[in-house]
Symmetry: C2
Amino acid sequence: MADTELKIAPIGEGISLKARAYEALKSAILNMNIYAEAAELRLDERDLSQRFGVSRTPLREALAQLDQEGLVRIVARRGIFIVRKTKAQILDMITVWAALESMAARLATEQAGGDEIAQLHALVDQFSQDEIARKMGEYSDANIKFHQAIIGLGKCPLIVEMSNDLFFHMRAIRQRTIFEQDRAKRSIVDHKEIVAALEARDTERAERLVRQHTLRLRDHVDRYVNLD
Amino acid sequence: MADTELKIAPIGEGISLKARAYEALKSAILNMNIYAEAAELRLDERDLSQRFGVSRTPLREALAQLDQEGLVRIVARRGIFIVRKTKAQILDMITVWAALESMAARLATEQAGGDEIAQLHALVDQFSQDEIARKMGEYSDANIKFHQAIIGLGKCPLIVEMSNDLFFHMRAIRQRTIFEQDRAKRSIVDHKEIVAALEARDTERAERLVRQHTLRLRDHVDRYVNLD
DNA sequence: GCGTGGTGTATGGTATACCAGAAACCACGG
DNA sequence: CCGTGGTTTCTGGTATACCATACACCACGC
């Protein structure tokens, strides 16, 4: 039943309180629309520790990690502030993404198996151009998966890890659908060309197409997205 | 009256104990030859806290940060272990470095001022090929500075930051001079070509030269360095 | 001699109390 | 009404005590 008041369940699974607090804070921060408020958003250690039902110690460790990741900024005796990314920072993230994914595409032409590359078709052909408008949410997910798939084919765990970090941070941007809205049709064409280059094992072309594709996204964001 | 016993200020410094512990541990870990020992190196929180003269709390926060950065690995109720990078991980780091610096070079051809590019000559012409053998240590430093300078010219703070992280981690490799020893002469030629491409604002060529230069280093490490 | 179970100990995880500094607040004088 | 000084409060930083578990060690039984 709905347990009107036993929601707490302090004794949790096996994972540490720090890890749980970290995950909880992370998703909480990402799911809030940071840019909606005018004032800078501040967190309070004691308040959070009470609401989570844990002491400040593991909570502080979780916050310290978020601080290092750049999601929050801890200022001694002042407070803990949720960080808003500037447009310049977002553009930089997309630039790095372009650098990493284009390198991954390069590696993929040398490292990936033909069957692995072939699987990319499933992610590209999934949507006809007409469907995009109606299923923008789904397409957005598939789009991310496509890029992550290419990055995975590079067989370089560090690139995968760093790219995931970047994608994660970019989730914090409101209206992230704008990333694709007007670019979806072009996007699909680009994707098909990229897959073709990978299949042809054309290293230089694959790298260039991936880079250009992502840098175009950067220019698009630069032109049409306003955050500051 | 008053001031009979005021103004203690024993240790001064404004920085937090956590930050100081972090820096101390960081340099301590990097300056020890991790690969000399056969057994896995373990740290003890209580022991360290006594030797540093601080409580476990700030020490733990410093260690948690090092854990996240990948320098140590904290295992609950087991211990804190200094992480040894595998050869594969080092090769991956060099790969990412190549991706980032080649993108920075690309950006530099579009963003950097002519005067800034011209300053690269000072870092390249500093050594004649004959001097390299005698001044390998200095050359190694100049070499790093050259690459950092190019990365800086890309005017992308995120790339600069991520690259610094990579360079930092690679410092932990013993005999890092092997990175250049047999490659120094070729390195200087490469560097000159890179500067020329930047000066000519040849975006594609600058990117390619930088990438090839660093990927060759990767192959060199792959062939001649043995860590595992 | 060898396996087995219990107990001790070492270690990271957590809770809590206290510290120091910064900001907010308030009383008071002009 | 405004400025100014001190005091109070709120905040993250630090110290410390205790908890839970993985491992080692030893006694005991076979």
